[in-house]
């Protein structure tokens, strides 16, 4: 009989909030900000992580590169047969290569070679696109058939710098001038996210480079893919396979590692903001406790009346404790909503998928509840201790 039904208790707890809305809103702001920060601080890294994971998955984490160690005297050179050796490593699914052999490109035979210095002329194996997950945007890639003629394919940036927006099959194919020889542009590539150096290059077929430009056949960068679970194993034997005599001359790298490094940065930021969220929650809790304390002082007559109507001390206590919890949880709910909206807005701006970790919202609301209890205990005890007759007589 002395238990108040849960529905009635919520009604009692909402009374103070309903009758003093502005004050309730102000006192819950601190908790709302704290919880919103919590949701944002966990939601943004989670979203960014998912975006990064998807990006990595799309680009492939199963790719490795090998190149000669730079700045050696004499310069390190990879053996001509190294690409074939790499292709023979069992888990390697595809191996390809490019070679920078010191040529430069120009748009005509009259301009100086210096004009397009930033663009590299690379000899490319005809399976290059498969090894780098590259795509042709316009035209076609190099193959044995076209290599009988002097042809090139341009990276996306190279095409732009050379002034070819695209290839129109109805017009005469454009030409570029490399090493006293005209080459016809037969294709333009899409950007290659994990190998941006290819975007700034002019690609000539491996054999064609030997035929027209006296290319010696030494690769300067080997691209390969393997199965996901064998990446580390392949990485371990790669240098020795590429150059068994001078494995120290071979630099092995994994292009997806650079992207992965971004994660660590974000996590350190997270800890800082989590601390700020904690402070906001503490201040918010004090705000709620303060509001509850004032509420009890102001409502002494109501408390006295409820005692006259049959409320015992426990029932008065539970009413004010509930009010504190309601206040705090409403603040928490507003915070979750605000945090989700802010995270969604940021993710939309970054073009990331939205991730709101369930643990952060559940944890936030549970935290708000706990704060409500803590903040309400003392005011509720004060309310219950009031003497009925004195409380009724107070003004």
């Amino acid at each position: 009989m002395t238990r108040i039904a849960p529905g009635d208790l919520i009604g009692l707890g909402l009374l103070g909030v309903r009758t003093r809305k502005a004050r309730a809103a102000l006192s819950a702001v601190g908790i709302a900000i704290g919880i919103a920060t919590l949701v944002v601080v966990t939601g943004i890294p989670a979203s960014s992580r998912l975006a990064l994971d998807r990006q990595l998955a799309a680009l492939g984490t199963n790719r490795l590169q090998a190149a000669p160690v730079p700045d050696r005297d004499p310069p390190a050179v990879l053996p001509a047969e190294s690409v074939d050796m790499v292709a023979r490593i069992a888990p390697v699914t595809v191996a390809s290569a490019v070679a920078d052999f010191g040529q430069t490109v120009a748009r005509s035979d009259r301009t100086g070679a210096g004009d397009f210095n930033a663009l590299a002329v690379l000899a490319a194996k005809d399976n290059l696109l498969r090894a780098i997950n590259g795509r042709v945007r316009d035209g076609r890639f190099l193959d044995a058939a076209v290599e009988r003629f002097p042809t090139v394919v341009l990276g996306s940036v190279a095409a732009q710098r050379l002034g070819f927006a695209g290839l129109d099959p109805r017009e005469k194919a454009p030409q570029v001038y490399i090493g006293r020889q005209w080459f016809t542009v037969i294709g333009i590539l899409d950007p290659v996210p994990l190998s941006p150096d290819l975007d700034r290059s002019v690609l000539i077929g491996w054999d064609a480079a030997g035929k027209w430009l006296r290319f010696g056949g030494h690769p300067t960068r080997i691209y390969l893919q393997t199965t996901d679970d064998q990446v580390e194993a392949v990485r371990g034997v790669l240098a020795a396979t590429v150059d068994p005599e001078h494995p120290g001359d071979v630099l092995v790298s994994r292009p997806s590692d650079a992207l992965g490094a971004k994660r660590a940065v974000e996590q350190t930021f997270g800890a800082l903001f989590l601390g700020l969220a904690g402070i906001a929650l503490l201040v918010g809790g004090i705000g709620v406790a303060n509001t509850m304390y004032i509420s009890v002082l102001e409502r002494r007559r109501e408390i006295g009346l409820r005692r006259a109507l049959g409320a015992n001390r426990g029932q008065v206590r539970v009413q004010f404790l509930t009010e504190s919890i309601v206040l705090s949880v409403l603040g928490g709910a507003a915070g979750v909503l605000g945090g989700v909206l802010a995270t969604a807005a940021y993710c939309a701006w970054q073009a990331w998928p939205l991730v709101i970790p369930g643990r952060s919202t559940a944890g936030g609301l549970t935290g708000a509840l706990a704060i409500g209890v803590l903040a309400g205990v003392y005011p509720a005890i004060r309310a219950a201790r009031l003497h009925p007759a004195e409380a009724l007589a107070s003004v």
Binding site: R3, A5, L15, E302, A308, G310, A311, R313
Partner: protein
């Protein structure tokens, strides 16, 4: 009854009120009338002496038992009405049934009945701010009678009202007494006191004749 600070508000008061009586408590300001009513209503405990309601001694009862006694057997009417601002008339009346564990739907049905009895059925959705003093006191009376208490204690229920409204309130209480409820009422108003069957006079905390 001695208050902290040494004020002896009641001294050697022995009063017996029988079932169904209607008693007026009179006396000058500060004579201890409210103190006596609070003790009778278990809102205060006497420093010495004993109080029995319906045969049970209350001075040794727990807070829980006392609260329950108040909720189930005693109705209060105050000079300042003491309605809760954020609640409508019907919610204010229904609050008197909340602590007795009556279900919400039953509470509202009974509160509506009680408001009907005091002639305010059409005001059930109004909050105190939207009602006159007389109306508020009638809501308070509805709240006092909704749980059919055996005893109604009224501390200057007409004190804040004009003569007409005061008379209306007294009519309601008289009617309630006729239906069997025991009533003790404090008043300064001679006209009101004259309409009440038994009169008790307090002076300096002691019972006496007029």
């Amino acid at each position: 009854m001695v208050y902290a600070g040494g004020v002896t508000a009641l001294n050697e008061v022995s009063l017996r009120i029988d079932d169904g009586e209607f008693v007026a408590i009179l006396g000058p300001s500060g004579s201890g009338k409210s103190t006596l009513l609070n003790i009778m209503g278990t809102l205060d405990r006497p420093t010495h002496g004993s109080v029995a309601i319906a045969g049970s001694e209350i001075t040794e009862m727990s807070d829980k038992a006392l609260s329950r006694l108040r909720g189930e057997r005693i109705g209060f009417v105050f000079q300042q009405f003491h309605l809760i601002d954020g609640l409508t008339a019907i919610e204010n009346v229904a609050t008197a049934l909340l602590y007795a564990g009556v279900r919400r739907r039953d509470r509202h049905a009974r509160a509506r009945e009680a408001l009907d009895r005091v002639g305010l059925a059409d005001r059930s959705g109004h909050v105190p701010m939207q009602m006159s003093g007389g109306e508020r006191q009638r809501v308070a009376i509805a709240r006092a009678l909704v749980n059919r208490p055996a005893l109604v204690l009224a501390d200057e229920p007409t004190g804040a009202l004009d003569a007409a409204n005061g008379a209306a309130v007294l009519d309601l209480l008289t009617e309630l007494n006729r239906a069997g409820t025991t009533i003790a009422l404090i008043t300064h108003d001679r006209d009101i006191a004259a309409r009440i069957p038994r009169q008790v006079h307090l002076r300096d905390g002691r019972l006496g004749a007029a």
